[in-house]
Symmetry: C2
Subunit: 262 residues, 2 copies
């Protein structure tokens, strides 16, 4: 399919392509089977924080313990938190990301016969403020800094939370700016948030690169006209219906080594 | 807190209330602990379809079988599908709900070491077209029709899918209209979709009642100015950060019996 599409692209005038009958499901999934665009040197590199820079392990342990030690429920909680962050955004509402995390925990717990107070749920989510960096992160950020890249953190966490997080992980000095969606009032991957972050850094969308371990974050950035760098950490997947990002690496150091060649 | 808030509401001029320092987490969660608004007779009753009218059991069995028989992964799949429907909406994209379901299944499977083809995933999701109605649904809809209620189905499923679903479940004749978000291009609970559905039925938001077994759907409807009726089916929870809906019943017949009294 990939070869056929490229063949058609290269040999037919542009207007004819949409007339070729392709099964619409294959056509969409095709996007992810295609060849990604070539990575260009970005003016600013934006980093997602949770999971991308920081290791969620201790947070997950706290959540799983709260949910009766069922490991799968830890993943269900995180997904539910992400779902409800977008429920809020879609309904023109905004709540602190941590508060949505607590609310999601109460919901998942109730569904599994566990009753949690708001206070208990809030405490169970607290380890999010004191996560360690993934082991290769400092070396990667140092390499990028040495090569004159401008680095910006860009997270769904609140301003307060990300300040605590980057301080605790010893990463705060690497960043030229810290952007939280809290200042805009919508969560990633709403297109408006990427547009706003680019404007905040006074650059065009095409000059932004998002580094993220989340398929939904990469999809949102690429749809907004950014370049995307997916960090394929364990348990993370690209969204099969979104275009492929420019680059896909298993960790941040492997990515940094490519970026310094540009 | 509830009594104190009501006391303040009743005794202080409106403008003073926001100055009372309440812990913001309690304040938000308070909404769900408060007293719901009194239910008024709606001009149109809108019904969510999947889970609310139709029993997802056979679909879940198919999904769980595909995911190596781990039951928790069935719930994770459904939540991931809902998350990614909103990822699309937030990024101004639209895909068929079933296609998002297949994509979500591929992602959850990959994360658990299972490789699925697009074709296999599509087939695993297909039982969504042939679900049975929950056992009390026909009696409830009949009761409402006899009492001159206008009934409308309102779903994230595509037009094609909901037609198949309601035919197979023997429910199609109960509905005066069938509304799919496909015609608007955004998924529930985006506020725009509720506004659009109300306009389509030529009534105001305040004259709409949404019946749904999903906390996110009820939250979206209530935030859009509709009335809400939550059907608390097993495994379903209200969103603790949203206002309480007007009514909360364990099944559709219990709800219908209240509605015919209005």
């Amino acid at each position: 399919m990939n070869n056929r599409r490229n063949f058609l692209k290269n040999t037919l005038p542009l207007g004819i392509l949409p007339l070729i009958p392709l099964n619409s499901f294959s056509q969409e999934l095709y996007k992810n089977g295609g060849t990604p665009n070539k990575l260009r040197r970005p003016k600013v590199i934006f980093f997602d924080v949770n999971e991308t820079l920081l290791d969620l392990e201790t947070l997950k342990e706290s959540i799983v313990k709260t949910l009766g030690n069922k490991k799968e429920l830890g993943t269900l909680w995180f997904t539910t938190m992400l779902q409800y962050s977008l429920v809020a955004t879609a309904a023109n509402q905004y709540f602190d990301f941590g508060k949505i995390g607590s609310a999601a925990l109460i919901m998942v717990a109730n569904n599994n016969g566990i009753n949690l107070s708001a206070e208990y749920a809030k405490n169970a989510v607290k380890p999010i403020l004191s996560l360690d960096a993934h082991k290769e992160v400092k070396e990667a950020l140092e390499l990028l800094k040495k090569n004159n890249y401008k680095l910006v953190s860009f997270t769904n966490s609140s301003n307060f939370a990300v300040e605590q997080q980057l301080k605790h992980a010893g990463l705060i000095d690497y960043f030229d700016a810290k952007i939280s969606v809290e200042d805009y009032g919508k969560f990633k991957p709403d297109s408006d948030v990427y547009n706003w972050a680019a404007r905040k850094m006074q650059i065009d969308n095409k000059d932004c690169l998002l580094v993220s371990a989340h398929g939904w974050d990469i999809a949102g950035a690429v749809w907004a006209g950014w370049q995307g760098a997916f960090i394929s950490r364990p348990g993370q997947q690209l969204f099969p219906l979104a275009p492929l990002p420019e680059i896909n690496k298993p960790n941040l150091l492997a990515l940094a080594k490519e970026l310094v060649l540009l």
